[in-house]
Subunit: 190 residues, 2 copies
């Protein structure tokens, strides 16, 4: 998946790397941005030192998780491109991604600690994502089924908004994310 393959990892190292990523996913899902490196290492059945050999910094670990999320979104987009086009594909894509996001909603909070470097790891995938989803949007505009001023560049904002609504647990405040999603879809329609 990565463009550069620095060198071949030793068998045990590769195994540990996978364990670490899995553990990170779990712990980030449970604790969000508050996840601690020690916990991740413990959950992976590995010492902190090992964790830090594979990911020299917490940011880099976060970056890996983010990258894998983008990968999954790209898969989703491609699946919809095969299955439909225009508005139908766009709505289908959005709703499916949102349901993925809802599955690990507390993980959404970790988007807050993403920085340039972490995001750079996902740049390639993001580019392809823009291409595919941009196709849906262009087609929908041609069909006149999508609000005229909407562009691909609006998608990150929407995703950020939705993700935050899912991830937050603001005290004593009711939360109805499904309602928000319906509102957004309705507002997107021409």
């Amino acid at each position: 998946m990565s463009t550069i393959e620095p060198r071949q990892l030793r068998a045990d190292a590769r195994r540990n790397r996978e364990r670490i990523v899995d553990a990170a996913r779990e712990v980030f899902a449970r604790c969000g941005a508050d996840a601690q490196m020690d916990d991740i290492a413990a959950r992976a059945g590995v010492g902190v030192g090992t964790l830090y050999r594979h990911f020299p910094t917490k940011q880099e670990l976060v970056g890996e998780i983010i990258r894998s999320k983008f990968d999954r979104h790209l898969e989703t987009a491609r699946a919809w491109a095969d299955r439909a086009s225009g508005w139908e594909a766009l709505e289908g894509f959005l709703r499916e991604v949102w349901s993925h996001m809802a599955e690990d909603s507390s993980q959404q909070r970790l988007m807050w600690l993403v920085d340039e470097k972490a995001m750079a790891l996902a740049e390639t995938t993001r580019g392809e994502l823009i291409e595919v989803v941009g196709g849906f949007i262009d087609q929908a505009h041609r069909d006149g089924t999508l609000r005229a001023d909407f562009t691909v560049d609006d998608i990150p904002t929407i995703m950020c908004a939705v993700g935050s609504a899912m991830g937050s647990e603001m005290a004593a405040m009711p939360r109805n994310v499904d309602g928000l999603l319906d509102i957004i879809v309705a507002g997107l329609r021409a």
Copy 2:
């Protein structure tokens, strides 16, 4: 403003309290949730000890800021109640609140560290807010101008989503909050 008035503050104490709240507003606006107590005290021209006498915990200071935000939103709601009703009042209220939020967008990030206790300070104001805005919503439903399944309880979710979209600065991602607001308003309309 507060229902309980524990005792009369000494003149200098009252002055310092105000300075602290002002400083907190500034520093939270600049640094969001990362704001430090030391910085706030320094900006207020006051020692940390003084800060802690007035607000025994960071949460309590956050609570004060949140409360004042809710107060302002309540004022906005009442102004719109005098001026209009139904959909017009609802949209006017939302857009005005959003523009207030946009003014100190980085302050939005501090909503993440609000807990029950901090929110409790704003409970009274929040109740009145629900009442006034609920009035707009009921009227709009009677007029048939608002999406049928929308209730007051959906508002926090929307606010959280919008606030996060404003407050985040996710790297290398375009951000178009105004577009999001238009989409939401369009989606709210029946």
